[in-house]
């Protein structure tokens, strides 16, 4: 069992919905980013998604593109991202961290070496946007063997015929992408999302968490109501991009988390 599995077990036992936050590692710089990440659990975050900066984030909108550029300009790398996770782990051994990004930095580091290093750093799961089930041999299967969850995205284009393929070799939770599109673009609509979550839950016992297009405490609540939890990324990253202090960012996160927890 990973920290992710334990977290969702606890939430289920408490009858509560989860709140997942995304921030880019090293945005706007290592120290500020670490301060924000360290404050997330106290702000109500159940699972931390940590963005791994990449020059060519094909599934991300301008907000997260710019966050990646800021991080890279401030000297962020895969190694420093793992270092940030390790520093977080020094005082928190329960909140799960999911590393989210693109395959090339991992491939460049070497998959086997990466899995060892990620595990040591206290990473619990991976979301790698450009690794669909068709490429499971690359990282998904080795990651699960190494004891890391491999979390898959299901999308509105994942039809019933394809869904079983997306759900095999996946673990931790299923991340339902509420819209066809990039991060930070359209708004998620609970009445659209509800039936889709039900469709996925009919085929898996894993928790289904919904992300993309959630920007306010109200949407966070509405979406969490029809799923096992909600993810917010761009709205938080926007504030970091505007130069808000860690305290201001965490205050905003607290509102979003309360939204999801009130569902």
């Amino acid at each position: 069992m990973t920290r992710i599995d334990r977290t969702f077990q606890r939430l289920r036992a408490e009858g509560r919905k989860g709140f997942v936050s995304y921030v880019m590692a090293g945005d706007p710089d290592f120290d500020t980013s670490l301060a924000i990440v360290k404050g997330l659990p106290a702000a109500g975050v159940d699972v931390i998604e940590l963005g791994l900066p990449f020059t060519d984030p094909m599934a991300d909108g301008p907000t997260i593109q710019l966050a990646g550029q800021r991080a890279l300009e401030a000297g962020m790398t895969l190694k420093r991202t793992l270092e940030l996770a390790r520093r977080f782990r020094e005082d928190d051994d329960t909140t799960p961290i999911v590393l989210m990004g693109y395959y090339n930095p991992i491939y460049s580091h070497g998959v086997d070496r990466f899995l060892v290093d990620a595990k040591v750093a206290g990473i619990d799961g991976l979301i790698v946007v450009d690794l669909p089930p068709e490429e499971d041999e690359e990282l998904c299967i080795p990651a699960q063997k190494a004891g890391l969850n491999f979390i898959r995205l299901a999308t509105p284009t994942t039809d019933d015929r394809r869904l079983p393929k997306v759900l095999t070799n996946t673990s931790g939770f299923v991340y339902y992408v509420s819209i066809t599109g990039i991060t930070g673009a359209a708004n998620a609509v609970a009445t659209d999302v509800g039936p889709e979550v039900a469709r996925i839950k009919a085929q898996t016992d894993l928790p289904v968490i919904v992300g993309f297009g959630i920007r306010t405490p109200e949407t966070s609540r509405d979406i969490a109501r029809v799923a096992d939890g909600a993810v917010v990324g761009s709205a938080i990253v926007d504030l970091i991009g505007k130069g808000k202090s860690p305290d201001e960012v965490l205050e905003f996160v607290r509102g979003l988390a309360e939204g999801a927890h009130s569902a």
Binding site: N104, P105, E135, T155, T157, I182
Partner: protein, 409 residues
């Protein structure tokens, strides 16, 4: 040996879209069902005579195929060695090889009921070809072009607009082809139901590299027949420039199993293949990585971050290369070399003066390599280079590089 499949270089990709370890389908889940649909449709079309009949008709009457195979006599005399032939794809409608592939993809898009076409473009040639064919078929066309390329390829931007396309300048990254491709992919993820992504080179997720290669193979197929007619034998060496690698793959593919034919791909060496990475020579100066849906050689730093390339030629300014080239490089069937901006400019000038052909900067790279090797080869050695585009679009860039003031002519 050409029919011996176990010994053939022409059997790739495998069912997972791989050429050796290269290629694949590294895309987000949202796009996965779309590329599987495209693959199924392409497999159907490939064996459908009516599909190829439509292609052949349009290639002949709309594009102007077959393009001539031309013996460059004065250039040959000047170089004083091998006999130099040019495959004249610059004479195609819209001025480059790009339209060979665009026609195929747009006919597929129509078969799939898609009504909106998106494309990325570097030099603007693929964008112009896409805008052209969309105009012909009454399809909506949106072209992503790096803001930096919009600046250096103004004539093509205007042509696309005249043809009714919407041109979106891309400002992310350094505003070149790679960034345009990212934004095109972002558009596709957003508009999955009605949109067809018409990729301009042999890159991207499977089935694009194979499909674009198949459409461009008309170049090599014609060249082979024409060379048999002209010389009664195959060329000794074939040479093409490489951005993503589509004109090169189109020339090379029909010759892959003719083992006596030497195959040379020419990458953009920019200011020189150095540690400062001021070039776009992915095979000469890069290493394998994953970008834009496939594994291939890429220009990247130690952390796996993609580097911006550098070339005077907007069409070659791409940090990757089609996966089949990466494979041909590793198995040693093709050789890859780099030519600098300065060498390409020399070839550009020589071609204008010796042959009365203003070449695009992209094939000027191929020609520069011909100029390097031809003098040392015997007179009965035949070289066929791909003159894949004309230089009208490049005259402003060349004027600037040569220090000419267009206002003072």
């Amino acid at each position: 040996m050409a029919n011996d499949l176990t010994n053939s270089y022409k059997t790739g990709p495998d069912e997972n879209g791989r050429f050796g370890i290269f290629g694949g389908r590294f895309v987000s889940e949202t796009l996965m069902p779309l590329i599987l649909d495209l693959e199924a449709e392409y497999e159907r079309a490939k064996t459908d005579d009516s599909f190829w009949a439509e292609m052949d008709f349009l290639w002949k009457h709309y594009v102007g195929r077959p393009s001539p195979l031309y013996f460059a006599e004065r250039l040959t005399d000047h170089l004083g060695g091998a006999k130099v032939y040019m495959k004249r794809d610059e004479l195609n409608h819209t001025g480059a090889h790009k339209i060979n592939n665009v026609l195929g993809q747009i006919i597929l898009a129509r078969r799939m009921g898609k009504t909106r076409i998106i494309a990325e473009t570097g030099a603007g040639q693929h964008g112009v070809a896409t805008a052209t064919v969309c105009a012909k078929f009454g399809l909506k066309c949106v072209v992503y072009m790096g803001a930096h390329d919009v600046e250096r390829q103004k004539p093509n931007v205007f042509r696309m607009k005249l043809l009714g396309a919407e041109v979106i300048p891309v400002t992310s990254g350094r505003g070149t082809l790679k960034d345009a491709m990212n934004d095109a992919l972002r558009d596709w993820v957003t508009n999955v139901r009605d949109t067809f992504y018409c990729i301009g080179t042999v890159a991207g997720p499977h089935p694009y590299p194979a499909m674009v290669r198949d459409f461009q193979s008309i170049i090599g197929k014609e060249a082979k027949e024409q060379m048999m007619e002209a010389e009664g034998r195959l060329p000794d060496t074939i040479i093409a420039a490489i951005g993503g690698g589509s004109n090169a793959m189109g020339l090379f593919f029909p010759f892959l199993d003719d083992k006596e034919v030497r195959i040379i791909g020419v990458e953009a060496g920019g200011k020189g293949v150095n540690e400062k990475m001021e070039h776009c020579a992915s095979l000469t100066g890069g290493r394998p990585g994953v970008l834009h849906g496939n594994r291939t050689y890429l220009l990247q730093d130690a952390d796996g971050q993609i580097l911006e390339g550098f070339s005077i030629s907007a069409g070659l300014d791409y940090p990757g290369i089609g996966p089949e080239h990466s494979w041909l490089h590793e198995v040693g069937r093709a050789e890859y070399v780099a030519i600098t901006d300065a060498e390409a400019l020399e070839a550009f000038k020589l071609c204008c003066e010796m042959e009365g052909i203003i070449p695009a900067l992209e094939p000027s790279h191929a020609l520069a390599h011909v100029m390097k090797i031809a003098p040392d080869l015997p007179p009965d050695h035949i070289i066929c280079m791909n003159m894949c585009g004309r230089g009208d679009k490049d005259i402003f860039t060349v004027a600037r590089a040569l220090g000419w003031d267009m206002g003072q002519l």
